[in-house]
Amino acid sequence: MTSPQPPLNEWLRRPQRYWYADGLTEMAVGGIFLLVALTNLAAWLLPPGPWQNLTLPILQALVIIGGVQGARALVRYLKERITYPRTGWVTYRQPSSSRRWLLAGLTFILAASLAFLMVALGKTVGQRWLPLVSGFLIAFATASGWRLRLARLLILALYTLGVGVGLTLLAPPDPLDAVLFFSLVGLGWLTSGGWALWTYLRHTHPLDEDKAEHA
C-alpha cells in the first residue's frame, strides 16, 4: 500500500506564516528602525564628550527593547481589531517564564553588543563601512525568515543590503549615515507591511455577526 506524502511541514509553517499575513509586524519593525534613527539623531544633538559613545549604545538597546515590547502589545491589539475578526484567532505556544527572562536578557546583551560593535567598528575600519556592515547583519536576519517561505522578507533583505551598499558608496557624514540608513530601512519595512496589510484587507472581510460560526 502506498500513499502520497502529506505536506506536514508546509501545514506546520502555516500558523507561523499567519502571524505575518497582515503586515502589522513588518510595520512595527519599521517603526522600531525609525526610532533607532531618532536615537542616532538625539545622540548627535548631545554635547560632545567621552560618555557620548557610551550613551548611544545604551540608549539604542533601551529603545530596541522598549520598542519591541511596545510593538508587540500594539500588534496584538491591532490583530484583535483587524485580523482575528476576518481570518480567525490563534494563540501561539509561549516559552516558560524562566525561558522568557533568559530570552529578554539575551536580547539586551545582543542589542548592546551590536551597538558597541558598531561604535568600535566605526573607530577601527572607519565610519564609512558601518551602513554596509549593518545592512549585511539586518539582511541576514531578515533572510532567515525564508524558513516561512515569505518572499517579501527576501525582497526586504535585498533592499536592506542595497541601502547599506548605497550609503557606503555615497559616504554621507556621521551621524547622517546612520540616520539615513535606519530611516530608509524603516521606511522599507513600513512600505512592505503597508502593502501586505492593503492586500490582506482587500482579500478578507470581517466576520458578520449573523454569519458567526456555530460549530
Binding site: L12, R14, Q16, G88, V90, R93
Partner: protein, 105 residues
C-alpha cells in the same frame, strides 16, 4: 510501537487528509478558533464541525465555546493525547516513507 511500522499501523483517525491537516495546524499552536481552521483548511462549516467532533470523541482535541462580544467563538486546542498521537503518526509515517537502511540501529 513495532520496529518496522506498516501502513495499517497508522492512526486511521489522524490519517484522514482533512483531519490530518486540522491536527497538524493545531500542533503548531496553543489554541485556534473555528474561523481560523475554516480559513486555513478550506473545508465547509459542516465538514469541519464533523471532523472536529470525531477528534473530540477520540480525546485528541478540546473544544471550548466562548463569546467575543456578541459573536460566538469556538476555541479548539490539541490535548496532550492529541499531541502524542500526532507525534507517533509523524514518526511512523516518516519510517514508512523513508525506511531506515537495514543494519541501522
Amino acid at each position: 510501537m513495532s520496529a518496522t511500522p506498516r501502513w495499517q499501523d497508522l492512526d486511521r483517525l489522524i490519517h484522514e487528509p482533512a483531519r490530518l491537516m486540522i491536527v497538524t495546524l493545531l500542533y503548531a499552536v496553543e489554541e485556534a478558533d473555528f474561523l481560523y481552521l475554516l480559513h486555513e483548511t478550506g473545508l465547509t462549516k459542516g465538514n469541519l464541525s464533523t471532523h472536529l467532533s470525531k477528534l473530540e470523541e477520540a480525546g485528541y482535541v478540546r473544544i471550548t465555546k466562548t463569546f467575543r462580544g456578541k459573536i460566538p467563538r469556538t476555541l479548539v486546542a490539541l490535548t496532550p493525547e492529541g499531541r502524542q498521537a500526532f507525534e507517533t503518526y509523524r514518526q511512523r509515517l516518516s519510517h514508512l516513507i523513508h525506511p531506515p537502511i537495514q543494519g541501522d540501529p
